[in-house]
Symmetry: C2
Subunit: 313 residues, 2 copies
C-alpha cells in the first residue's frame, strides 16, 4: 500500500497535471476502472479527495459512494457539472481554478466574434477551395461601431469588455445586479439588451440558474443582423431555437465554443456556413492549462496540509 | 454624346460606387472593352480622369495612352499598383482613400492573429469533420503576454497596436524612422525585432520600397514558435521563403490576407493546416467600401470643380 495520500481522479485531465498528481499522490482513476462499483468499494474507506474536470464534474451519487470525501477539486472555473449544493450540505468542500483562465477565454471570445463578423473560417475555405480564382469573396459586416451586450459581467465579462473597447464598440451588460464601478451601461432585462445589441456575448456561469437564459425571445430580439457568441456553457442558450433562427435567417450569425451536449454538435448547426464552430477550447492553451493544473495541485496540497483552500467555491 | 464629364474606369469596383459614378459621369469601362486599343483611341481626346482600384492600379503605359489624363483616383489606400512616379512626372495627380479603412484592416489583422494562434479555422474544421467525437482538439498557444512587432507604424499600424494592447501584449515597431510620440519600443533593425517578437505583423505600404522587406532572415529570426500576419501587401514578404519555412517548421504559423500574385495562392501554403488564409478582405466590409466609394467620388468631384484634392498622394 502506498504511503502517499489517496486521491480519486474522476475523469481524464491535462496530461502534465495528471502526471504531477500521480507523482505526489496515490491516484486512483475512476475513468479507467472497468468495474466502477468494485473500484468505488475499494477506495471508499480512504478517499477524502477527488479531482475532476469542469466538463466531467461530479454528481451527488458519486459523492455518496465515497462517504469519507471532504474535497472535490475541479480543473476549471465552471462548477456547473458538480453538485455543489449536495457537496456543501454534506460537508464536502469544492475548489476551482478561477482567474488563470480569464484572459485566454476572453481572447477566444474575440477570436470567435471577429471570426463570425469577418468570416475567417469561411475566407480560409474560400481560398483553399479555389473559389478566389473565380472572383472575390462577398463583402462582410464590420466590427466597427457595433453595440456589444455582455451577458454576465464577471471576471471573463470584464476581460471581454476591455478587448471590445479597443475595437471601437459600444458596450453594455446584463446580469443579476448592476455594477456601477464598471462604468458600462446596465440592462436589467436581457431581451431589452438583445434588442439594443448588434452582438451578444454569453459570459455567465452555467448551471440551473442560467439554463436557457439566452432564450428564443432573446435571440429574436438580437435579430437578423445580430451575432451571438458563446464562450460560457451550452446550457445557457436554447440551442434548438439558436439553430432554427440561424437557419431561417432570423438571427445573423454565431461564434460558438460550447454546446449543450458536447462533443455532440447539432447537425443543423454544422450545416450552416455562416456559423463559426469551435470545440470548447476557451482555456485550452498550454500556458493556461498548466496554470490551472498548478491551482488544482495547490488546492489539494492546502487541504492535505490543513490550510484553507486557495479557491473555495 | 453625353453632357456629363467623361471618366475612364480601369477595373471593376464596389458595385454601389460604380453605380454612383455612372449616374454622375460618362463612365467608359476599359475592363469591359474587347478591343482595348480602339477603346483607348476613342476616349483619349477627352479623358482627364481615371478611376481604378488598389488591386488593379494603373501602369505608365496606360497613362501614356491617355494624354489628357490629369487625375488617377484610386479606390483603396495602397497605391503600389499605380505608377505614381510616372504620374507625378507627367502632371497627373493621384488620390486614394486613407483613414476610412484603417479600423477594418486593423480588425482583420487581429482576426487573423487570433485565428492563427487559437486555430479558429482549424477548430471549425475539427467540429464539422466530426473529429471532436473522437477526442479533444490539441492545446494551442496563447495570445497572452506575447511580444508583438509591427512592421510599419502608420495609421493602420497604430490601430493594430491599440487593439493588441487590450490583449496584454508587449509591443514594438520597425519603420524608416522612430516615432517617439507612439510610446512604443522602436527597432531600427527588422531582423532584431523579429528575433525579439513572438508575432510579426506587416502593416507597411507595398511597392518597390518594401519589396521582400520581410525576408527569409526576418522569418528565420521570428522562429519556430513565431506567428507572421500580413494585411499589407503580398510583395512585402518573400513568399517562397515564407512557404518553405512554414512547411519545415522553422516558422510557427501565419495569418495571411494578401499574396504576391492574387488571387493565386501558392499550393505550398494551401497544403498547410496551420496557416490561416484569407482572400484580401482587409477593407472588404459594406460600411468601409461605401466610405471608400464616397472618398473616390469626393476626390473626383473636387478635381472637376477645380478644388484641391481631398486625399492627394
Amino acid at each position: 500500500m502506498s504511503t502517499k495520500p489517496m486521491i480519486v481522479q474522476v475523469g481524464p485531465l491535462h496530461g502534465p497535471t495528471q502526471d504531477e498528481l500521480a507523482r505526489r499522490y496515490d491516484v486512483r482513476r475512476l475513468f479507467e476502472a472497468t468495474d466502477k462499483a468494485a473500484f468505488l468499494a475499494a477506495v471508499a474507506p480512504q478517499c477524502q479527495v477527488a479531482v475532476t474536470s469542469g466538463t466531467r464534474g461530479m454528481e451527488a451519487s458519486l459523492m455518496q459512494a465515497l462517504p469519507q470525501l471532504k474535497l472535490v477539486a475541479c480543473f476549471g472555473v465552471g462548477v456547473d457539472a458538480i453538485d455543489v449544493a449536495h457537496a456543501h450540505a454534506n460537508g464536502i468542500a469544492v475548489s476551482n481554478t478561477p482567474d488563470v483562465l480569464t484572459e485566454d477565454v476572453a481572447d477566444l471570445a474575440l477570436a470567435l466574434l471577429l471570426g463570425a463578423i469577418r468570416r475567417i473560417p469561411q475566407g480560409d475555405r474560400f481560398v483553399r477551395e479555389g473559389s478566389w480564382l473565380k472572383g472575390g469573396m462577398a463583402l462582410t459586416a464590420s466590427m466597427q461601431q457595433r453595440k456589444v451586450g455582455i451577458v454576465g459581467l464577471g471576471r471573463i465579462g470584464v476581460a471581454i469588455a476591455k478587448r471590445c473597447a479597443a475595437f471601437n464598440t459600444e458596450l453594455a451588460y446584463f446580469g443579476p445586479r448592476e455594477k456601477p464601478a464598471s462604468g458600462l451601461r446596465y440592462f436589467a432585462d436581457l431581451v431589452a439588451m438583445a434588442r439594443w445589441s448588434d452582438v451578444l456575448i454569453a459570459a455567465c456561469p452555467g448551471g440551473e440558474g442560467t439554463r436557457g437564459l439566452v432564450s428564443r425571445s432573446v435571440l429574436e430580439a438580437l435579430g437578423p443582423a445580430g451575432v451571438f457568441v458563446n464562450i460560457a456553457r451550452g446550457s445557457v442558450v436554447d440551442e434548438a431555437a439558436l439553430t432554427e433562427l440561424l437557419t431561417s435567417g432570423a438571427l445573423g450569425s454565431a461564434g460558438l465554443d460550447v454546446f449543450e451536449r458536447e462533443p455532440q454538435v447539432p447537425a443543423g448547426l454544422i450545416a450552416l456556413d455562416h456559423v463559426v464552430l469551435h470545440p470548447h477550447q476557451g482555456s485550452a492553451t498550454h500556458d493556461t492549462r498548466a496554470a490551472m493544473g498548478r491551482k488544482v495541485l495547490e488546492n489539494v496540497e492546502a487541504w492535505f496540509a490543513g490550510r484553507p483552500l486557495i479557491d473555495p467555491v
